[in-house]
């Protein structure tokens, strides 16, 4: 087998793994968009905030230490204890649920019935706000996140491919774990929305707000629920990206990458988010591999958006989106 083809296969596999990450972020978008029509730009910052909180709790940092020290002239930094990863994750989930309550009570309850574009702007405001809060609480330095996931090259795949092709593929263990966790998460979410009472309420609200309201479903409750779920998805995405490349500001920029993923998949479809993520992940990896060197590289910056743009011109509702029917 020619070398180029083998390289291309490796690139494709790695692209698939990146695609899983994109899909994870896109998933959080879809959850909120389906239930409330809010296009949550803050999803990426939520992932950053969740990962920062997790690291902060794990290392026993004092929240708002910088602010407190500045105002009271104290010198606080650490509580002096370390929390095991499992409990830290649980505590972070509690924090994200608290955040969901805050968002619903103070912001989006007051914006019910506004135009989608106003809601979108509000989430951009929320993204700024949350980013500032995250920096104030935990500082803005790059943090290492370690919750005990295995890292480094997967020896089994390396060996197996070496025996077949005479060339060992480099696949990170972390990516494999990410793919598995994402699969479990999606399966869990689908099961939750199909078979539980809350899940049915969620789907009813997504279908028709007013009809759901009239059969006695509390919109407020469902919205807090989806924001909490989106927070948990954000935490998972944050853990994955954070263990891969450290918890830092660029984490919040993956929200932008998730947008073309959503456009490809359609804003309202969970399978769409997954498939869109994989297409974008593989597409940009292959494009950078095949064409990137000819035109200067770093094409990942824009390839996803241009692909989505071209795709949308031919199919405006995305792959799995509901057909757009316009009436006057």
């Amino acid at each position: 087998m020619p070398d180029q083809l083998i390289f291309a296969m490796e690139v494709t596999l790695n692209g698939l793994m990146t695609g899983v990450m994109y899909a994870l972020v896109a998933l959080g978008f879809v959850l909120i968009f389906k239930a409330s029509g809010i296009f949550n730009y803050a999803q990426g910052v939520m992932a950053l905030f969740a990962a920062m909180t997790l690291v902060g709790i794990q290392e026993g940092r004092v929240p708002f230490a910088h602010l407190i020290n500045e105002i009271f002239g104290t010198d606080l930094h650490y509580f002096g204890w370390e929390v095991p990863a499992f409990f830290a994750i649980l505590l972070t989930v509690v924090v994200m649920i608290g955040f969901a309550l805050f968002v619903q009570k103070f912001i989006f309850r007051h914006l019910v019935g506004q135009e989608p574009i106003i809601l979108f702007m509000a989430t951009i405001g929320l993204a700024y706000f949350l980013e500032g809060i995250s920096d104030l609480m935990w500082g803005s330095e790059i943090r290492n996140l370690d919750v005990g996931l295995p890292q480094g090259i997967n020896d089994a795949i390396d060996e197996a491919t070496f025996n077949i092709f005479g060339y060992g593929f480099f696949i990170d263990n972390l990516d494999i774990w990410a793919a598995m966790i994402a699969a479990v998460l999606v399966a869990g979410l689908i099961a939750y929305s199909q078979y539980t009472k809350n899940g049915r309420a969620m789907r009813a609200v997504a279908d028709d707000h007013q009809a759901a309201l009239s059969v006695g479903i509390s919109l407020n409750y469902v919205w807090v629920l989806v924001w909490s779920l989106a927070g948990i998805v954000a935490l998972v995405a944050g853990i994955m990206w954070g263990s891969k490349s450290g918890v830092q500001f660029s984490l919040s920029l993956i929200a932008l990458k998730a947008l073309p993923v959503l456009m490809l998949g359609g804003f309202t479809s969970i399978p769409g988010a997954i498939v869109g993520g994989l297409i974008i992940g593989v597409g940009e990896a292959l494009f950078e591999f095949a064409i990137g060197p000819m035109i200067g590289g770093a094409t990942e910056n824009w390839f996803a958006y241009v692909l989505a743009l071209v795709f949308l011109v031919f199919r405006p509702q995305g792959l799995f989106g509901e057909k757009i029917i316009e009436r006057v």
Binding site: F39, H66, L67, E70, I107, H110, L111, Q114, P116, I117, I118, F120, M121, A122, I124, G125, L126, A127, Y128, F129, L130, E131, G132, I133, D135, L136, S140, L256, L259, P260, L262, M263, F267, I295, G296, G297, A298, T299, N301, W302, Y305, V306, A308, L309, L312, V313, P316, G318, I324, E326, R327, V328
Partner: protein, 358 residues
């Protein structure tokens, strides 16, 4: 008392159609112009020019441009930063290739170039609508920035990849470069703002502006009553990009002087201009000015209070600034989704009756 239509008789159609039908408004407008031209250039110093006035004027142009597209025609764009970069790089290439060209022509040509690029990226808007379009404009943003970073022709093969504005003058007075004085830069920008605002105001209340608004309010209905969506959307994209391109060119030539494209025209700038028109008011020329003033003044004010008065260190103040800006955006959207322009209109309505309650 003094702010009312009563007693101000209109005897010609021209008077009836004027932009400021109330005499007090008219005099206020002349007074602002008079102060802007006759007083400010004589008292301006470097700090005021570079921290507040020039960025305010430049961002006001950008905000008017985006407001024409988003506020009047309803097409949300997140590509403002990329289009500003087109204006900046066009003016850079023109300045270095044709050293004898004067700055006004260079700036206008940059605007036209950006209008062309805007037209090209506006074409998908005929099929893609709403959010999908907003995300599609991100393609313009990221692709353009990447192109200016990677194609060396655009930055004249300079080693650093930056572009810096050479000295160019207008009527023998330096406008760009390190020797340009604050009042010259200020007046140069002021002239552009005045002319562009005048054009924008008259475009938006004319036939083409009404077509834009019809498309914004409901595009299918507009099409049925005979508005050509192709023409309306594409003109909106072209005019908007023209404004944004001029703002980008001025930001580079007059204000910054040297530019690294990723940091000066990144996605952050797109959002900044978007915030300006939301806070100022969508679909209002006055709102573009109010929003630009607000977003330029707020960080300066916060920084002065937090680091100057309270003595915090700058990193902390920056983080706090994020929290406050974010919270203010949400606050504005909750209490007044139509922005400062609506507050201004309410104030004028109250003033009309004052001092009587009804």
């Amino acid at each position: 008392m003094f702010y009312r239509e009563a007693g101000d008789f209109k005897t010609t159609y021209a008077e009836d159609n004027q932009t400021f039908p109330i005499a007090f408004d008219r005099y206020r407008y002349y007074a602002v112009l008079l102060i802007g031209v006759g007083v400010v250039p004589f008292v301006i110093n470097d700090y005021w020019a570079s921290a507040i006035l020039i960025p305010f004027l430049i961002y006001a142009i950008a905000a008017m441009g985006l407001n024409i597209l988003t506020g009047y025609c309803g097409q949300v764009s997140l590509g403002t930063g990329g289009f500003m970069a087109v204006g900046a790089y066009t003016s850079y290439k023109l300045m270095t290739a044709f050293p004898w060209l004067d700055m006004i022509s260079i700036t206008l040509l940059s605007g036209f170039m950006t209008a062309m690029v805007g037209l090209a990226f506006g074409l998908p808007s005929l099929r893609i609508k709403g959010f999908y379009l907003a995300v599609a404009t991100l393609a313009a943003q990221f692709f353009l920035i990447w192109m200016f970073n990677k194609v060396p022709w655009f930055f004249n093969y300079s080693a650093s990849g930056q572009i810096s504005a050479p000295e160019r003058s207008l009527f023998g007075i330096a406008v760009t470069g390190p020797n340009a004085e604050a009042w010259v830069k200020y007046l140069f920008c002021f002239g552009f703002v005045f002319v562009l605002a005048w054009i924008a105001r008259n475009l938006t209340r004319g036939s083409i502006g009404r077509q834009w608004m019809a498309i914004r309010d409901m595009d299918i209905a507009a099409e049925i009553i005979g508005v050509n969506p192709l023409k309306a959307k594409l003109t909106a994209f072209a005019v908007s990009s023209f404004y944004v391109g001029i703002a980008g060119a001025l930001l580079f030539t007059v204000y910054l002087g040297a530019v690294e494209v990723g940091s000066a025209y990144g996605i952050v700038k797109s959002f900044l201009v978007l915030f300006m028109i939301i806070i100022g008011g969508l679909g209002s020329i006055f709102g573009s000015f109010a929003g630009a003033a607000f977003m330029v003044l707020l960080p300066v004010l916060l920084r002065n209070i937090l680091t100057g008065v309270m003595g915090w260190d700058t990193a902390l103040a920056t983080h706090f600034e994020f929290v406050i800006v974010g919270a203010l955006i949400m606050f504005f959207l909750i209490v007044e989704p139509h922005g400062l322009a609506r507050l201004w209109a309410l104030l004028k309505d109250k003033l009309r009756l004052w001092p009587f309650p009804h």
